[in-house]
C-alpha cells in the first residue's frame, strides 16, 4: 500500500530515517537557544559589571585620561606603566603588598583552622557562639578600619589604655608613627576581619569527612596529631587551597582597612598596590589612566600567582 505509506509519511514527515537527524538537530538547536536565553541575563550582568570595566580599564591604562583633559584623551603607549614601575616607591609598595598578603592570609588560615576544629563537635550554644565569631565578616571594611583606627590611637585609643592599666606599658604606643607597628596594626585588623571566612569554609569541609575514616585511624593506633596530618588535612586540602587562593585575591584587592586606618602611611610604610591606586586617583588630578595601569599590574600578578598555584597543587596531587 504505497499510497497509504505516502499518506502516513505525509502525516508524520519526521518519522522517516532520513529526516531523523534534522529532527534531533532542530531539537538540539532549540534546546541550545533555550539554554542561551537562560544564560543571557547572567552573561549580561557579568559582562556589564565585570568584563566591560576590565576591558575599559585595560584600554584606559594606555591613555592619558585625567578628569581635566577629558576632551583631549589620546593613546600614550606604555607611559603610564613606565611612570608606575619607575617610581622610586614601587619596590617598597610591592614588598608591602607581599607582607600584607602573606601575614594576613597565613594567620587568617591558622586561626580559621583552629576555630573550625574547636567548633567541629556540637556543643550547647554553638550557634550563638558561631554568630559572634563570624560577625566581623559581615561588617564593612571601611567602617572596621575607622573603628580600629580609634582603638589603636596613640593618645586616646582603648588598646593603649588597657595596656597602661594592666601595667604592661607606661606610655601609649604610637602605632601609626612607626612603620613596622603600623603594618602590624593593619594586618592584625585584617586577620580579625578575615579569619571567620576561613573558619566557615574549613568547618564545612570538616563536616564532610566520614566518621569511619577517623575510626579506622584510631583503630590503627593513630594519635590526634597523626590523625590531623594523615586524615583531616588531606581531606580539607582542596578547600584549603581554594580558600587561600580566594583570600589572596581578595586581600590583594582590599584597600578598605588600610585606607581608613593609615591611607598607606607613615611614609608609605603600609601602602599596598590597591591603596596606591586610590591615592593616584585622589592626589594626582584624578589620573584614572595611571591608576588603571596599577590595576592591570595587580591583575597580572594575580593571574601569574593563580596559574602557578594551580600548577603546583595539581602536580602534587598527581604525585600523591
Amino acid at each position: 500500500m504505497p499510497g497509504s505509506k505516502q499518506k502516513k509519511g505525509a502525516q508524520a514527515p519526521f518519522s522517516s530515517p532520513e529526516m531523523r537527524p534534522h529532527h534531533s538537530l532542530k531539537k538540539k538547536s532549540r534546546r541550545f537557544f533555550f539554554l542561551l536565553a537562560l544564560f543571557i541575563p547572567t552573561f549580561s550582568v557579568i559582562g556589564f559589571l565585570t568584563i566591560y570595566p576590565t576591558i575599559r580599564g585595560f584600554i584606559l591604562s594606555f591613555q592619558n585620561y585625567t578628569v581635566f583633559n577629558i576632551r583631549r584623551i589620546r593613546y600614550i603607549g606604555l607611559q603610564n606603566y613606565e611612570r608606575v614601575l619607575q617610581s622610586g616607591d614601587f619596590g617598597l609598595i610591592l614588598w608591602n603588598t607581599f607582607v600584607w598578603i602573606f601575614f594576613s592570609v597565613l594567620f587568617q588560615m591558622l586561626l580559621g583552622l583552629g576555630l573550625a576544629l574547636l567548633m567541629r563537635k556540637p556543643f550547647k550554644g554553638r550557634g550563638i557562639y558561631a554568630g559572634f565569631v563570624f560577625y566581623p565578616w559581615a561588617l564593612s571594611g571601611f567602617a572596621i578600619g575607622l573603628i580600629w583606627r580609634w582603638l589603636f590611637d596613640g593618645s586616646f585609643g582603648i588598646i593603649n589604655d588597657i595596656l597602661i592599666r594592666l601595667g604592661i606599658i607606661e606610655r601609649g604606643i604610637s602605632f601609626f608613627s612607626d612603620p613596622v607597628l603600623a603594618m602590624v596594626a593593619v594586618i592584625t585588623v585584617n586577620i580579625w576581619y578575615g579569619f571567620p571566612f576561613f573558619a566557615i569554609m574549613i568547618l564545612a569541609a570538616l563536616q564532610g569527612i566520614p566518621q569511619d575514616v577517623y575510626e579506622s585511624a584510631w583503630m590503627d593506633g593513630a594519635n590526634p596529631i597523626n590523625t590531623f596530618f594523615k586524615v583531616t588535612l588531606p581531606f580539607i586540602r582542596p578547600v584549603l587551597i581554594n580558600t587561600v587562593l580566594l583570600r589572596v585575591i581578595w586581600v590583594m584587592n582590599y584597600p578598605d582597612i588600610i585606607y581608613a586606618m593609615t591611607r598607606g602611611g607613615p611614609a608609605k610604610a603600609t601602602e599596598i598596590l590597591s591603596v596606591y591606586m586610590i591615592n593616584i586617583v585622589f592626589y594626582e588630578n584624578n589620573n584614572f589612566s595611571k591608576a588603571s595601569a596599577v590595576g592591570v599590574i595587580i591583575i597580572s600578578i594575580l593571574m601569574v600567582f593563580t596559574t602557578f598555584t594551580y600548577l603546583v597543587t595539581n602536580t602534587k596531587r598527581m604525585e600523591l
Binding site: 586616646f156 606610655r171 604610637s174 608613627s177 602611611g265 607613615p266 591615592n279 586617583v281 584624578n286
Partner: protein
C-alpha cells in the same frame, strides 16, 4: 460617564501643568557634613517657600571624595545647576571649561559692593574672571586654651614662633600633656605657615616665591623654618600626630592634650559645640624670625555649570544664599568668615572674642600678610601628596631637611612657577 471622563482629563491637565511648571535645581556641596547639610537645607527651604515651583535637590557626597565627585560629574556634564567650588577646585574646573562666567551677574549684584577686602580678587583668581560667588573665607589663626596654659603659669597666647616653641616644650611631659596640635595628614597649610614665617619677603601672589622671584625652598631661611617645624613635632607634639587629620587635631585640643592649634574658622562651630564659652580663645598667628607670618586666603563659593539650563534661577538662589541674614546664619552655624562686610557690623557674634585672632590679623596686613598658593598650577594636586609624603619621611628621620628642600625646589622648578 462623560463627567468622569471630563474629570480625568482635567486631572491630567492639572498634573501635567504642575509637572512642567516645576523647576528642579541640582546642587552639590563639597564640604559636606551632617550639620552643614542641615544648615544649607534650611536655607533651601526658605528659598523654596519664596519661590513656589522651584525645588532644589542637594547632593552631599562624603567630604573625602567630594572633589573627585564634582570633577567627574562636571567633566561628564551630568545635570547640575549649582556647584560649590573651593579655591583648590576652581582652576581645574575652569580649565575644563565647565564653569559659567559670572561677571554679568556679579557686576549687577548689590552684594558685591559690600565684599570685604580680598574677596573680589578671590572670585577672580583664574583668568581675572569671576567664575564663582564666594560664600565664605577661610584664614588660619591660632586657637589656644587659656585654662590649660594657666596651669603652667602661662598667660595669653604666644606672639612669636620662638615663644610658641618655648611654651610648647615647657608644658610637654611626653605622657598626657603636649604643646602643639600637629597635623600629619595633608600638612600643606601647616608646614608652609611655619616655614614662610622665617621669611619677610614672600610674594603676595605666590607663597612659594620670594618677591625677587626665587623659589623659597632654595633659600637658607627655608632650612631654618623646616628644621623648626620638625623640632616642633619631636619636642612638643604627640608622636602619633604624624597620622593626625582634622578630627584628631581638634580632639586633642578639646581634651586639653594639646592646647595650641592652628586652624580655620570652621573649627569654631565644632569648638562652640564641644567646649563652653571662653574655654578656648583665638589669637593672631605667631610671627616668625622675619617679623611676619603669611596666612593664605582660602575661600569657597557657588558656581554655575556652563551647561546648566537653569542659570538665572540658579543665580537667584546664589544671591539669596548670600543675603546678609542667610550668610550670617550659614557662617555662624558652620563656622566661616562671612564675605559681606555688613555682617561684621550687624551681627555681634562676629565681633565677639572668638574672632579676636582674625580681627587682629586683618587690622595689621603688613605683619599678617595674606598670600596665595599656586593653585592654578597643573601639578598642585601632586604637590599636595608629595609634601605629605616627604613630611612623614622627615618626621621619621628617613630624609634630611636639605634633601627635602631639594625635592621641593625640583618639583616647583619642573612645575614652572
Amino acid at each position: 460617564m462623560r463627567k468622569t471622563l471630563l474629570a480625568l482629563v482635567l486631572l491630567c491637565v492639572l498634573f501635567t501643568s504642575i509637572l512642567f511648571s516645576n523647576t528642579t535645581l541640582r546642587m552639590i556641596q563639597v564640604f559636606a557634613s551632617p550639620e552643614r547639610t542641615k544648615i544649607i537645607e534650611n536655607i533651601i527651604e526658605k528659598f523654596e517657600a519664596l519661590k513656589p515651583g522651584v525645588k532644589i535637590e542637594l547632593i552631599s557626597p562624603p567630604y573625602e571624595t567630594a572633589v573627585s565627585k564634582v570633577n567627574i560629574m562636571m567633566s561628564n556634564e551630568e545635570p547640575l545647576d549649582i556647584v560649590e567650588v573651593s579655591d583648590w577646585l576652581l582652576s581645574g574646573l575652569v580649565s575644563m571649561g565647565v564653569l559659567e562666567n559670572l561677571e554679568r551677574y556679579i557686576t549687577r549684584s548689590e552684594q558685591a559692593k559690600y565684599w570685604v577686602d580680598g574677596v573680589v580678587e578671590a572670585a577672580r583668581t583664574v583668568n581675572n574672571t569671576a567664575y564663582i560667588m564666594p560664600n565664605a573665607i577661610y584664614v588660619k589663626t591660632l586657637f589656644y586654651r587659656p585654662d590649660i596654659l594657666e596651669k603652667y603659669n602661662i598667660l595669653g597666647a604666644p606672639r612669636s614662633m620662638g615663644e610658641m616653641m618655648a611654651i610648647c616644650q615647657y608644658i610637654t611631659n611626653g605622657r598626657d600633656q603636649y604643646g602643639y596640635s600637629y597635623r600629619g595628614i595633608d600638612p600643606v597649610n601647616f608646614m608652609d605657615l611655619v616655614l614662610c614665617s622665617f621669611f619677610n619677603d614672600i610674594d603676595p601672589a605666590c607663597m612659594y616665591k620670594t618677591t625677587s622671584g626665587k623659589i623659597i625652598f632654595e633659600d637658607p631661611r627655608a632650612l631654618e623654618g623646616l628644621k623648626f617645624y620638625i623640632e616642633l613635632y619631636h619636642k612638643a607634639s604627640p608622636k602619633d600626630s604624624i597620622s593626625w587629620g582634622f578630627d584628631e587635631q581638634v580632639n586633642a585640643f578639646v581634651s586639653g592634650l594639646t592646647p595650641i592649634l592652628f586652624q580655620d574658622p570652621d573649627t569654631t562651630a565644632l569648638l562652640n559645640y564641644l567646649l563652653t564659652t571662653g574655654v578656648y580663645k583665638t589669637a593672631p598667628l605667631p610671627v616668625g624670625p622675619g617679623g611676619k607670618v603669611y596666612p593664605t586666603f582660602g575661600f569657597g563659593g557657588w558656581g554655575i555649570p556652563s551647561y546648566s539650563k537653569n542659570k538665572d534661577i540658579a543665580w537667584e538662589f546664589i544671591e539669596f544664599f548670600n543675603l546678609p541674614e542667610n550668610a550670617a546664619y550659614f557662617c555662624k552655624e558652620y563656622g566661616a568668615l562671612p564675605v559681606d562686610s555688613r555682617i561684621y557690623e550687624s551681627d555681634p557674634y562676629f565681633g565677639s572674642a572668638v574672632f579676636d585672632g582674625w580681627a587682629a590679623m586683618f587690622d595689621d596686613p603688613v605683619t599678617y600678610q595674606i598670600t596665595a598658593y599656586p593653585i592654578d598650577n597643573e601639578l598642585w594636586g601632586e604637590w599636595f601628596r608629595l609634601q605629605g609624603d616627604i613630611q612623614e619621611r622627615l618626621l621619621m628621620n628617613r630624609m634630611t631637611p636639605e634633601r627635602a628642600l631639594q625635592e621641593f625646589t625640583n618639583f616647583w622648578k619642573d612645575a614652572g612657577i
